[in-house]
C-alpha cells in the first residue's frame, strides 16, 4: 500500500511516499530555515505563504523520485496538528482536495505520533510496546507506545519544551536561529562541568519535566557576570546548560522504562538529532540492558515520511478522516 504523506506544520514543506508503513520510496523536504533566519525564528505568516507555493512542487518531486503517478497512490496522509494553524491549513486543504479528486482515503496524522513512527522506518523489527522520548521545539513527552495507535503520556514538560530552552539560550549567547544545532556544536568544545546549573526533577517519582527554572538560572548567570564584568566562555555555558537538560532527560527516561517494565526505548523529534543526547541515553540504557532505537537524522526533524508511516497504522486500525478534516493547532495525543 502506497501512502502519500504531507507535512506543513511548521517551516518545512514535505511530501513523501511510503510503502506499507516502513519502506520510504521518496521523502522530499523543502526547508524554509534560510527565509526565517533573519527574523530570529519562524514567522507564521511567511511560513504559510511559502507552504502554499511549495506544496505542489514538493508533491510532484516526491512522485517523480518514487517513479509513480497519482494513480499509484492508495491513500493521502496529512499532519492535522499540532502546529502553526495557518501552516497546517495549507497542507490539510491541499490533502483533502487530493483525496477527493483521486477518490482515495484521507488519513489525518498527529505530528507527534508521526515523530514516533519515524523509528519504524529505520528499525524494521521495532514493534510496540515501547517507550518513546519525544523531544522537539514544541514538545517534551515521555510516551508509552502500547500499540501502533494506542498511546499513554507518562510525563511531559509543564512549561518550556527542551528544544524551546535550547533555542532561547542559543539566542542569548548570540548563536541565532535555529539555536539547537548551533548550541550543540558549540557545546562540544566547552566544559560541561564549568558551571553547575540546576537539574529540575519536580516531585519525587514524577516523570514530568520543567525547563523554565534552568533557563532562568542560565539568564541570571549571564546577567550577574555582565554586571560584575566577569568574562565567561559561551562554549562552557552551552556545554553546562546542555548537560543539565540531558541529565534530566536521561534519568527520567530510564525511570519511566523501569517503572513500566519496558525494555525497549526509542527517541524522536527534532532534538533527538542531538548527538550528545543520543550517546548519553544509549550508554545509560545499555547499562540496564534496555534496547535503544533512534531514527536517522533526516527523519528526526520534520518530514512527511514519518506521517505516511504512522498513517499506514492508522489505516490498518480503521482510523480514517474525511473531507471535514480541519487543522487543529493544539491537537492532543490519541484523539482524532
Amino acid at each position: 500500500m502506497n501512502i502519500l504523506g504531507i507535512e506543513t506544520s511548521c517551516d518545512e514543506t514535505s511530501a513523501s511516499i511510503v510503502k506499507d508503513g516502513r519502506e520510504v520510496l521518496s521523502n522530499v523536504i523543502n526547508s524554509q530555515i534560510d527565509i526565517h533566519e533573519k527574523y530570529g525564528g519562524v514567522v507564521p505568516e511567511i511560513a504559510s505563504r511559502n507552504h502554499l507555493m511549495n506544496i505542489p512542487v514538493v508533491v510532484e518531486q516526491a512522485l517523480k523520485e518514487a517513479d509513480l503517478n497519482f494513480d499509484d497512490i492508495d491513500a493521502i496522509a496529512v499532519t492535522n496538528g499540532p502546529g502553526l494553524v495557518g501552516a497546517l491549513l495549507v497542507g490539510v486543504s491541499y490533502a483533502k482536495a487530493l483525496s477527493s479528486a483521486l477518490n482515495i482515503p484521507l488519513i489525518g496524522v498527529n505530528h507527534l505520533e508521526g515523530h514516533i513512527a519515524a523509528n519504524y522506518i529505520k528499525a524494521k523489527e521495532l514493534e510496540p510496546p515501547f517507550l518513546c522520548l519525544v523531544v522537539s521545539g514544541g514538545h517534551t513527552h515521555l510516551i508509552l507506545v502500547k500499540d501502533y495507535t494506542d498511546f499513554e503520556i507518562l510525563g511531559r514538560s509543564i512549561d518550556d519544551a527542551a528544544g524551546e530552552a535550547f533555542d532561547k539560550i542559543a539566542r542569548v549567547i548570540g548563536l541565532g536561529y535555529p539555536g539547537g544545532p548551533k548550541l550543540e556544536k558549540l557545546a562540544r568544545e566547552g566544559n560541561k562541568e564549568a558551571i553547575d546549573f540546576p537539574r529540575v526533577y519536580m516531585s519525587p517519582g514524577s516523570l514530568d519535566f520543567s525547563f523554565s527554572g534552568l533557563k532562568s538560572a542560565v539568564l541570571n548567570f549571564l546577567n550577574n557576570n555582565k554586571q560584575k564584568g566577569i568574562e565567561y566562555e559561551p562554549k562552557d555555558v552551552a556545554a553546562s546548560f546542555q548537560a543539565a537538560v540531558l541529565d534530566v532527560l536521561t534519568d527520567k527516561t530510564l525511570k519511566a522504562s523501569k517503572d513500566n517494565n519496558i525494555d525497549i526505548v526509542a527517541i524522536a523529534g527534532g532534538v533527538s538529532a542531538n548527538q550528545a543526547l543520543r550517546e548519553q541515553l544509549e550508554n545509560a540504557l545499555k547499562e540496564e540492558n534496555i534496547k535503544f532505537y533512534s531514527p536517522d537524522f533526516i527523519y528526526s526533524t520534520d518530514n512527511a515520511a514519518m506521517i505516511a508511516s504512522q498513517a499506514y497504522y492508522n489505516f490498518k486500525d480503521n482510523k480514517l478522516s474525511d473531507n471535514h478534516l480541519d487543522a487543529t493547532p493544539n491537537l492532543k495525543f490519541g484523539l482524532d
Binding site: 533573519k38 514567522v43 505542489p56 491549513l89 490533502a95 482536495a97 477527493s100 479528486a101 480541519d326
Partner: protein, 225 residues
C-alpha cells in the same frame, strides 16, 4: 466548457459550477468562518448532485485576493491540488472584479470595498455598461478612506458601493450624492460571479504551480524589517 469556481476570500464561502451557457450549481454560505471545514464537503456535494467528477472540468477558477490571507490560502491550496491531479488550468480572479460582476448591467461606476482592517479598504473602480461588460479603471489596492474619497470626487455617474466593507464604511461616504448602496443580496461574494469573470479572462490561465494569491500586503514581519 465547464468551470468550477470557488471564492474563500471573505467571510463568505462560495462555490459554483457553470458553463458559458448556464449556471449549473452554486452554493453560498455566509455563516461563521470555517472555510477549512466547509469548502471540500461543499464541493464534493455539488459535484455529486450534478453528477460530475473533478476530471470533467476544462478550467478551475479561484478568487485569489485581496482578502483574508488564511481564507485565500485555503481556497488556493484546494484548487492547486484539484488542478494538479486533473492537469487543468486555473484562472485567477480578483475578489473585487468578481464583486463587480454581481451587478454587471448597472451602467455606472462600481466601487467594491472590502474591510482590510487598519482603517483601510481593499478597493478598485470598474465601469459597467448597460450591455453587461465590465471595464477595470484602477488596480486593486489597499486605501485609507480619505484616499478613497479623493478618488470618488469628480465622478458624476452613479457609484455603486458593494462588498463586505459597506457595513463599516458606507456612512463615511454618505456625502457623495451619486452613491448607491447595493442591496444586501447582491452585495457579497459569490462564485458564479467569479466564474463569469473567469470566462472573460481565459487568456490569463495559470497552472497549479504558478497560480498565486494577491495579498496586496507583505506579512507584518516583513513590513517591520
Amino acid at each position: 466548457m465547464k468551470i468550477l469556481a470557488i471564492d474563500t476570500a471573505t467571510n463568505v464561502m462560495s462555490a459554483a459550477v457553470l458553463s458559458e451557457k448556464k449556471l449549473i450549481s452554486e452554493d453560498i454560505i455566509d455563516y461563521k468562518l470555517k472555510h477549512s471545514k466547509t469548502l471540500m464537503p461543499t464541493l464534493d456535494s455539488i459535484l455529486k448532485s450534478v453528477e460530475l467528477s473533478y476530471f470533467d472540468f476544462d478550467y478551475f477558477a479561484a478568487v485569489n485576493g485581496p482578502g483574508s490571507f488564511t481564507g485565500l490560502r485555503i481556497g488556493l491550496s484546494t484548487i492547486k491540488a484539484l488542478a494538479q491531479v486533473t492537469n487543468k488550468p486555473v484562472i485567477p480572479v480578483s475578489t473585487l472584479e468578481s464583486l463587480a460582476y454581481n451587478i454587471s448591467f448597472s451602467n455606472g461606476i462600481i466601487c467594491p470595498i472590502l474591510d482590510a482592517r487598519r482603517e483601510q479598504v481593499y478597493t478598485a473602480l470598474f465601469e459597467s455598461s448597460n450591455n453587461g461588460t465590465i471595464k477595470r479603471l484602477t488596480e486593486d489596492s489597499a486605501l485609507y478612506l480619505s484616499e478613497l474619497r479623493d478618488r470618488l470626487k469628480g465622478i458624476d455617474k452613479p457609484i455603486f458601493l458593494l462588498g463586505d466593507g459597506v457595513d463599516k464604511y458606507a456612512e463615511d461616504l454618505e456625502s457623495f450624492k451619486n452613491l448607491i448602496i447595493v442591496p444586501a443580496y447582491l452585495r457579497t461574494c459569490k462564485a458564479s460571479s467569479a466564474g463569469a469573470c473567469a470566462l472573460s479572462h481565459l487568456d490569463n490561465a495559470k497552472t497549479y504551480k504558478t497560480i498565486e494569491p494577491s495579498y496586496l500586503r507583505p506579512s507584518y514581519a516583513e513590513e517591520k524589517n
